[in-house]
């Protein structure tokens, strides 16, 4: 075998025999085979980080769960994506996201277009077992076209990644850690005064919730457009087709 020949690994996902090349993750292969593993922080075109933990899958023969968006399969693995245990944890994760900040859909600009809302519906989350923390984050409406409401943020980091990896500006990052984590602009300043922001709005459209939105949108009016992302990735890599 020449060194350039990709090594094909064969394994099963939910009993279905599948195969993967060297650099494909479990999530990639599942999607190619029509198996829909839930994700929130993952977005095609951005580096997977495995931080939302919704894409966790079980590996047969072990008690371990791995994040499928970053984990590579091994030959002969038996992967399970929808066991009772996984569903239980996924529901728990979504409930915790809801309880951490303020996700009152009825008054949200992305109501009906929100990935968190859709995930809750998909997983059958109809009540939250944990106490709501309801922190009071200040809104930043200093940007002429967009606004940020940290109360709706789930800290998925998509805005940070799209700004760094695609736009190349790295205007956003996360400050602090744990419960105090917050998405920031430059030196934690006002968005409208940012020296690095190019006003491109990619962060707004990759945001899964109503945390980043266009100004002037009312309840349920903020639908996000993401078709540009795989296209931009292709163009910027120089892979013109």
């Amino acid at each position: 075998m020449s060194p350039t020949t990709p090594l094909i690994k064969t394994f099963t996902i939910d009993g279905k025999p599948v195969s993967a090349t060297e650099d494909e993750t479990i999530l990639d292969v599942a999607r190619q085979n029509g198996i829909d593993i839930p994700t929130l922080c993952n977005l095609e075109g951005l580096t997977p980080t495995g931080q939302c933990r919704l894409c966790m899958v079980e590996i047969g023969g072990t008690n371990r769960m791995v994040p499928s968006c970053v984990a590579k399969p091994d030959e002969g693995m038996e992967i399970v994506t929808d066991s009772e245990r996984l569903l239980k944890y996924r529901r728990m994760i979504v409930e915790l996201l809801f309880s951490e900040r303020n996700h009152i859909c009825a008054v949200c600009v992305t109501n009906g277009h929100c990935e968190l809302q859709a995930m809750a519906q998909r997983l059958g989350v109809d009540h939250i077992r944990y106490g709501y923390l309801h922190p009071r984050f200040r809104l930043d409406g200093s940007h002429p076209r967009y606004e940020v409401d940290h109360n709706r943020c789930i800290l998925c980091g998509r805005c940070v990644r799209v700004c760094d990896e695609i736009e190349g500006a790295h205007t956003r990052d996360l400050r602090n850690r744990g419960i105090k984590t917050l998405v920031i602009t430059d030196f934690d300043g006002r968005w409208g005064e940012s020296a690095t922001c190019t006003n491109c709005g990619k962060c707004v459209h990759v945001c899964p919730t109503g945390a980043l939105a266009e100004k002037g949108k009312s309840v349920a009016e903020m639908a996000k457009q993401r078709h540009f992302l795989p296209y931009l990735v292709m163009r910027r890599k120089g892979l013109k087709k």
Binding site: D186, F187, T196
Partner: protein
């Protein structure tokens, strides 16, 4: 935001910036020198000011938000000047279970300090860390850089009183 290979002038005519410059020069002004440079600033100035963050970001060509993110992620850096003496209490899971919460109460009652506060006379600062990575020593507190662990909450209170009285 400056893009330049030229050396940028420090924010003020203060000898301490020379020490910071030495750290950055040793690393060839590489963006990877960020944490080490922040350490030098913390050691030389006692805190990491906004001015310092800007200087580092521009000198190493690291995005402002990243510099801010790193500086606030680690408990080793503090953005506002601390008092003369610093008690750092771990409130991570293991320490909390072992009674760190009682010490938080104690600091409030005895010294009137909430987490992250400094006494008005600038003598004492009370900071908390979310796990210092020494759970085997739980509950852990750090008194002016000296790690004290494996004490009961009552013993910790006594130790803090002793430590405070030595200074006077």
């Amino acid at each position: 935001m400056l893009i330049t290979n030229r050396k940028i002038a420090p924010p003020a005519d203060d000898k301490r910036w020379k020490i910071v410059d030495v750290t950055m020069r040793k690393q060839g002004y590489s963006p990877t020198a960020l944490i080490e440079t922040l350490h030098t600033i913390q050691e030389s100035f006692g805190h990491v000011s906004g001015e310092a963050l800007e200087y580092v970001a521009n000198s190493l060509n690291v995005p402002p938000s990243k510099v801010f993110g790193v500086a606030t992620f680690y408990n080793l850096f503090n953005m506002i000047p601390l008092g003369e003496h610093v008690i750092s209490l771990c409130t991570g899971t293991a320490c909390y279970v072992k009674g760190a919460g009682e010490v938080v109460e104690f600091m409030r009652e005895e010294y009137g300090l909430e987490m992250g506060q400094t006494t008005p006379d600038g003598k004492l600062s009370f900071v908390v860390a979310r796990c210092v990575g020494a759970c085997g020593l739980a509950p852990v507190m750090i008194l002016d850089g000296k790690v004290v662990g494996r004490l009961s909450p009552d013993q910790m209170k006594t130790r803090i009183r002793e430590w405070m009285s030595h200074d006077e």
